[in-house]
Subunit: 214 residues, 2 copies
DNA sequence: TCCTTGGTGTCAGCGACTGCCAAAAGGGTC
DNA sequence: GACCCTTTTGGCAGTCGCTGACACCAAGGA
């Protein structure tokens, strides 16, 4: 019963999101009011806010879902794979969404980047995904070698660096055709150029203030 | 005359910012209204918005100034220095501000990170600084070797990776004492771990869709 | 039938922010 | 001092995002 309710609730959310996105694509994000969105799906403004915490949420909620997909992808990677390669594989999730057949997500991404407040909110969501990813990489390092002390500092930086690569690749690809292959090539190129030479994530961390003895 | 007016305008901005920061530190960002800030400096809310575009601007405006400082630092670095080292040197600007004697900026940084909307706005500002930095690095690459085609994709990724390092270092340092030396050590550790092996920024870029002939 | 439960609309309100207009506050000239 | 021009200011009304409170209605179960 709870799951059934959740299902219908999710269906309403999808209906709202589609109507809202249509309006955003047609008139722009700032030029669309919540009242208009609510009217488009035939509900009150108050009810809109029962499904989405904010106007921005309609556009950005999908990032949370993509984050979950990304974590699932990470779980499917072999434990002994270098982090850099695992991250590269995870990013295929983003690429797949941004280059889907309809081109809808790509158009929405352009809207996001054209609106500073939306971009800010997106960066914050991505930031949260990065934090979780760093934590999970640390957990994987421990799972791989129990007793190891993961270097959370470098792990965070590593995840951030990888995200810098995909961010640059997406940006570059959105200027051009933005096909999946092109975006993947851009990402490969950037990540190859920045690949860390030594395996990172464990070892002489500074987290505790002391250098780990060899 | 124009400069004199600008000067007094800047003085008012400083007065507002100090009063606002005091309130933020005492009650929190969300719990402080613009009316309270305006009342604290003895002006109307309407006038407040003549000096700052938004409530967030009071806290984040300094990032634009620090960005300018950072660019100046970059200009003082030798052209033939590897980008990674130039960036490391530039980050001393941030470290200096975050670890100044009063500890005010450090406290403000904690407020920023405790408020999602503020953090989002900060990330967006940093994002803009990164973009400008990547552009300037590209210009330096051309200045160093006229005729070279800078690889903007890798350059953007490189700057983003460096910022990921300082972000991780700051985060780590803010959990502890957060002295200047500690923060610098964290940053050095992260940047050494992620240092790109080959000189980047020029060469076989994918920007144009074709691989540059050797 | 009653009662609970979950979704809905309405309304009133707050806070950030803006446009508009009229009142001050400076500053130079006669 | 009187005049004028420019800049700055406050007040007011209004928009928009968002929230709490309340009453209403439908479905389902005892």
């Amino acid at each position: 019963m709870s799951s059934l309710r959740e299902l219908s609730r999710q269906a309403v959310r999808v209906r709202i999101a589609e109507a809202a996105e249509d309006l955003f694509l047609a008139k722009g994000f700032n030029e669309t009011t919540v009242d208009e969105i609510a009217a488009a799906v035939g509900m009150s403004q108050r009810s809109f806010f029962r499904y989405f915490a904010s106007k921005e949420d309609v556009v950005l909620e999908k990032f949370d879902r993509q984050g979950e997909e990304l974590f699932a992808r990470l779980n499917s990677r072999p434990l002994d794979e270098p982090e850099w390669d695992s991250l590269r594989s995870c990013f295929d999730v983003f690429i797949a969404h941004l280059t889907d057949d309809t081109g809808r997500d790509r158009a929405l991404q352009e809207i996001i980047e054209s609106c500073p407040s939306l971009l800010a909110a997106q960066l914050e969501r991505v930031h949260r995904i990065q934090e979780q990813l760093a934590q999970r990489l640390a957990a994987r390092a421990v799972a791989r070698d129990p007793g190891a002390i993961p270097d959370t500092l470098v792990l965070s930086a590593l995840v951030g660096a990888a995200f810098a690569c995909i961010q640059a690749a997406v940006r570059q690809a959105l200027c051009g055709e933005g096909t999946s292959a092109q975006m993947g090539a851009f990402l490969d190129h950037a990540m190859e150029a920045l690949r860390p030479l030594a395996p990172v994530g464990v070892g002489a961390g500074l987290s505790t203030g002391v250098t780990a003895e060899r």
